[in-house]
């Protein structure tokens, strides 16, 4: 990885308990789905985060949750507008084009899909996003407004009207048909990715149509 570049924070807002959206000016081109490394010091080992903003937006947004005892996020959450962070160039190949596809995410695994969404790639897509609580359904209003019923929010720990109650795995398993000809993009906890991938394969989706992202 090349030397990290300094960026000045524009905002760092707590969007849900323990979850933050950090933004800074975009000074690079990227492909939706790519990641960048973020560090608080220029010589620190950067942590990887998926970009959550569109590729034409002026600001880059990063969605993160604070990991108690973590090396980066507790400090990152204390930063304010005007403070600086250090970022790598974008990289990575978790990329989806304009073709029909199903996006499945849990938690902050929504970030690469948010980037694709804000880059105008949601037209032929179904987005299924799960979290424990409704407050963790980041960008819900935007998804609902544009995607309508192609957006399926789900919660495991609370029952909320209009939101599927249960795991994304359960939602998928209850669908009568899963189109084997489209690609399924998965991003979230390792457990979810593996469980959903197993389910898809069991239901006849060829494994070459299952595209999984690592969630560091």
């Amino acid at each position: 990885m090349k030397a990290l570049k300094q960026s000045t924070i524009i905002s760092n807002l707590e969007t849900a308990p323990g979850a933050y959206v950090l933004s800074f000016p975009r000074s690079f081109a990227f492909v939706p789905g790519q990641v960048i490394g973020i560090a608080m010091k220029p010589d620190e080992k950067p942590r990887l985060y998926s970009i959550a903003s569109g590729n034409q937006e002026a600001l880059v947004r990063i969605l993160y949750t604070v990991k108690p005892g973590g090396k980066l996020t507790p400090g990152l959450a204390r930063l304010q507008a005007g403070d600086v962070i250090y970022t790598s160039e974008p990289f990575g190949g978790f990329i989806c084009g304009a073709e029909k596809a199903v996006w499945v995410a849990t938690g902050t695994g929504i970030a690469p899909f948010a980037s694709m969404f804000y880059s105008g790639l949601s037209v032929n897509k179904v987005l299924i996003h799960g979290n424990r609580f409704a407050s963790g359904l980041y960008f819900l209003d935007d998804f609902l407004q544009v995607m309508g019923n192609r957006y399926v929010p789900s919660c495991t720990r609370e029952a909320v009207e209009g939101i599927y109650h249960g795991r994304v795995l359960k939602y998928l398993s209850e669908l009568e048909q899963l189109d084997p000809l489209v690609k399924y993009y998965l991003c979230g906890s390792a457990e979810m990715v593996v469980d959903v991938r197993d389910l898809l394969i069991e239901r006849g989706v060829p494994f070459e149509n299952v595209v999984a992202e690592i969630f560091f």
Binding site: A190, E191, V193, V194, D198, E202, F207, E213, I214, F215
Partner: protein
């Protein structure tokens, strides 16, 4: 609330020096403790008999040695043993002891579960629970009944070693340092799926051997087998290896699981020869052992031999790794997953 007790086993000499400094003990006590922990193999602070009673008391008030034996073992008809050690949240980690005539290899875990989600791996199905500390990694070696017989250590058990770089590097330091186990780094191999920044740190700071999980020379195909390809491509991995002066002693090997009708065609041979050109390495072919829920199948013996011969005809040093312990859930993650399922 009771203060959580720290453990001594797994601390480097420098860390032990910090411990004794905090306790107001002479600096040389650190080397004495290291000697007891890593060479004399004590299991309690009380046994550290050349430490003063006062020093032992101060240590025992704050620390445990931190060793714990295996919770379970399964023995294969071929002599391979798979040990389960208790880890976080009621989970288990696996350690495989593989005896041969002259070599006794131990395959250690570096994480509880794994984040990497490889399609062919059963550990991935447990999700990720956490990193093992250096002490927990080394405990698999020290607390093994066959500990004294070991000739080789391979970091190829559960977890991705370079996703736990701190714990793995610390354990390697203790394994190879004079104050520690004083093992030759040539007897130790760390296997990775290719987390490039951490791999570079390993190449720079350690002289142990490196094994890279390859499994396909084609980006799209490898991506479907190993999601890491999205983040760090094989091309990046090979570029990092090429840019590093490896010397004559250090070995780079590429692990290649052969799947039926998937990754052993002449096209694969040609591409492997192309991408590995100029890297002094060897390829280890492994026969895939199907795990529940994967769409992949095992190749027959003839396929393996044909593929090996084809690779060798291109000048690539290739071996076929003998399958061991097939009767005891030998594939990584199978036994520990079975153990934590309700009975």
């Amino acid at each position: 609330m009771e203060e959580k007790r720290d453990v001594l086993f797994g601390k480097t000499l420098k860390q032990l020096e910090e411990v004794v400094k905090k306790l107001g003990l002479p600096r040389f006590t650190a080397a004495q403790i290291a000697d007891w922990l890593y060479k004399k193999e004590v299991t309690s602070i009380e046994e550290m008999s050349n430490l003063s009673r006062d020093a032992r008391g101060k240590l025992a008030a704050r620390f445990d040695v931190g060793l714990s034996g295996p919770a379970k073992v399964q023995v294969s008809v071929d002599g391979t043993k798979k040990y389960l050690f208790r880890a976080l949240n009621g989970k288990f980690i696996e350690t495989a002891y593989i005896p041969e005539r002259k070599r006794h290899t131990l395959c250690v875990s570096s994480q509880v579960g794994c984040k990497m989600g490889c399609l062919f791996c059963f550990t991935a199905k447990q999700g990720f629970q956490g990193n093992l500390s250096a002490g927990e990694i080394l405990n698999q070696i020290r607390s093994l009944p066959e500990s004294d017989l070991l000739t080789n250590i391979v970091y190829m058990g559960m977890g991705e070693p370079f996703d736990n770089l701190d714990g793995v590097m610390q354990s390697l330091e203790i394994l190879t340092a004079d104050f520690g186990f004083a093992m030759s780094p040539k007897r130790i191999t760390v296997s990775t799926i290719g987390i490039v920044p951490a791999m570079k740190v390993f190449l720079e700071q350690s002289t142990c051997h490196l094994a890279v999980s390859l499994h396909s020379p084609f980006e799209e195909e490898r991506r479907r087998l190993m999601p890491i390809e999205h983040v760090y491509s094989l091309n990046d991995v090979l570029e990092a290896i090429r840019s590093f002066p490896l010397g004559k002693q250090r070995r780079i090997s590429f692990e290649y699981i052969v799947f039926k009708d998937l990754n052993h065609s002449p096209k694969h041979v040609k591409e492997l020869a192309r991408i590995l050109n100029g890297i002094r390495c060897r390829i280890n072919l492994l026969r895939f052992h199907p795990v529940p829920g994967t769409p992949l199948n095992a190749p027959d013996e003839e396929t393996l031999v044909t593929f090996k011969t084809a690779l060798e005809s291109k000048g690539l040093v290739t071996t076929i790794r003998k399958s061991r312990g097939q009767d005891i859930y030998a594939a990584c993650g199978l036994l520990s997953t079975k153990e934590q399922q309700p009975g």
